[in-house]
């Protein structure tokens, strides 16, 4: 059983729906087609592409939001929490007995993804890696990096490191060795600080710090951002994704995010249990590794096919449109995070409240919450299903909007719409598959 499986032991319950689940699947597909037709007839000018950045103005609120003392207080608190979580993650105890796995796999991995999508780039300040890089003088403003970061690498290091994290989470190769998470955190910290030391803090955070690059995708969906002066300003939801610069490895990272969440859902289905239920130890890890890789490649293959069809129309091959429309997959990746993990965050995330008072399982009760029990009645199975349907449909409609906006910005009117047919079809398949996987969980 994976770390997620152990943490998610409390989920379940009876779902009461007025119609069979497969009708939701067809309804969701229909919603996508209707959205596509509506966009074709009503959204005739690009609204996100080339949109000028808003600028903020000095005010009392902006002075608080840009206050350096406040920023560094938050940074140091976050760094202190990171040290506690890392120490707890070394302890040879089960995932629910210390604060380590709960904070890493629920509060950070799931909770921060939610926070970034709605509030903007919180990780930019909360990241202990970024803070350590600044404290150690690895910022480009303090010293010239030993080497220039190779442009050809793009965000490939982040994509590879992100795959390593989801592999650790979903294939759980060290399930029989509690405490491995601590070594993983220490190893990642060393790689990150080493990268910053050689290539500079900003370059490494922008391209290779897996969580900064991954969470940075969701930041682009948020209504809030900062202007070049650091002032917090508003913008239309999703519009920040139109500014996502093309880089080698960016698409790979998005596909790792999308495919890994899909595999996480599939690995909880009865079909996967039928295939691998009898396996244990190394064979189980190998099967999960193959399943994870296979799902990512399957998602990538479907997307590449859609882009091949689009490229046939524009005469560009598959790779150029694949890079151009990669940003349209981000709302879908976020929708999968919401659909698969929001109940996990709200229910299993409560374990962390108790562990805050006793992070190392030493019998402490620092904040008086050590005996707090998980409230399993917070969400019913029916509520979870409706939320999953809404998230999946909204995420895919967001993807269709972004792709449409870019297509009409870069292609002639007669060509733009036709480049989107195949992508729409693939999004319908993603929607149907996503809902079928969730309904089989």
């Amino acid at each position: 059983m994976t770390v997620f499986g152990i943490l998610a032991h409390g989920l379940g319950g009876r779902v009461d729906l007025p119609v069979p689940r497969w009708m939701f699947v067809f309804g969701a597909g229909t919603a996508l087609v209707v959205s596509f037709v509506a966009l074709a007839s009503l959204w005739r000018e690009p609204r996100f592409e080339g949109r000028p950045e808003r600028r903020g103005h000095a005010s009392a609120l902006q002075r608080i939001l840009t206050n350096r003392a406040l920023e560094w207080t938050v940074r140091m608190l976050s760094l202190g929490s990171f040290v506690v979580v890392t120490i707890a993650s070394f302890l040879p105890l089960s995932p629910t007995e210390t604060i380590g796995p709960v904070v890493v796999f629920i509060w950070f991995w799931v909770g921060l993804a939610f926070a970034q999508a709605f509030l903007g780039n919180l990780w930019g300040t909360l990241s202990p890696f970024d803070t350590l890089g600044r404290l150690l003088g690895f910022d480009e403003s303090e010293r010239v990096p030993t080497r220039a970061y190779p442009k050809a690498w793009g965000t490939w290091p982040a994509a590879i490191l992100l795959f390593g994290f989801v592999w650790l989470e979903l294939a759980d190769p060290f399930a029989d060795r509690p405490g491995t998470l601590g070594y993983a955190i220490a190893g990642y910290t060393l790689i990150t600080l080493g990268g910053m030391a050689v290539y500079g803090r900003r370059a490494w955070v922008e391209h290779a710090e897996a969580f900064a690059v991954y969470l940075g995708l969701f930041t682009r969906m948020a209504r809030l951002t900062r202007d070049p002066d650091g002032f917090v300003v508003g913008r239309p939801p999703l519009s920040g994704l139109a500014r996502l610069e093309p880089k080698p490895g960016r698409l790979a990272l998005i596909l790792v995010a999308l495919g890994s969440t899909t595999f996480d859902g599939f690995s909880r289905s009865s079909l996967w249990s039928d295939w691998t239920g009898a396996l244990a130890g190394l064979p189980e890890t190998l099967a999960e590794t193959a399943g994870l890789l296979g799902t990512i490649l399957l998602v990538a293959g479907l997307y590449a096919l859609a882009m091949l069809a689009a490229g046939q129309i524009t005469g560009e091959g598959w790779h150029v449109p694949a890079v151009r429309f990669a940003h349209s997959l981000v709302p879908i990746a976020f929708a999968y995070v919401v659909a698969h993990y929001f109940s996990f965050l709200l229910i299993e995330g409560q374990i962390g409240i108790a562990r805050l008072s006793d992070p190392f399982d030493r019998g402490w009760n620092l904040f008086g919450t050590a005996d707090r029990l998980v409230n399993l009645t917070l969400l019913s199975a029916t509520t979870i299903w409706y939320a999953q349907v809404v998230a999946i449909v909204a995420g895919h409609i967001g993807g269709v909007i972004l792709a449409h906006d870019r297509a009409i910005a870069i292609y002639p009117p007669g060509v733009a719409l036709r480049t989107q047919y195949a992508l729409l079809a693939v999004m319908i398949v993603f929607t149907a598959t996503g809902l079928l996987i969730l309904s089989g969980g």
Binding site: W22, L305, Q312, E316, R418, L424, T433
Partner: protein, 67 residues
């Protein structure tokens, strides 16, 4: 559950197959309708930055140059 609902994937899969294969068939038989969008040979296809004949990779985005 997935195993029993597999047939529900057939219709979306059929739609995808038709939509994906359609443009390729049209291309094969030379009935693709409108000409491809025009591209500037001195511009990176990925990010729109200016590239020269000597650039192996785009100086702005890092992709191999495709004009």
């Amino acid at each position: 559950m997935l195993a029993h609902q597999g047939e529900e994937l057939l219709i979306p899969a059929l739609i995808v197959a038709l939509v994906l294969i359609g443009p390729m068939i049209r291309q094969r038989f030379g009935r693709s309708g409108e000409p491809p969008a025009g591209r500037d040979p001195g511009v990176c296809a990925y990010c729109g930055a200016t590239v020269t004949g000597e650039d192996e990779r785009c100086p702005a985005c890092g992709f191999r140059v495709r004009r």
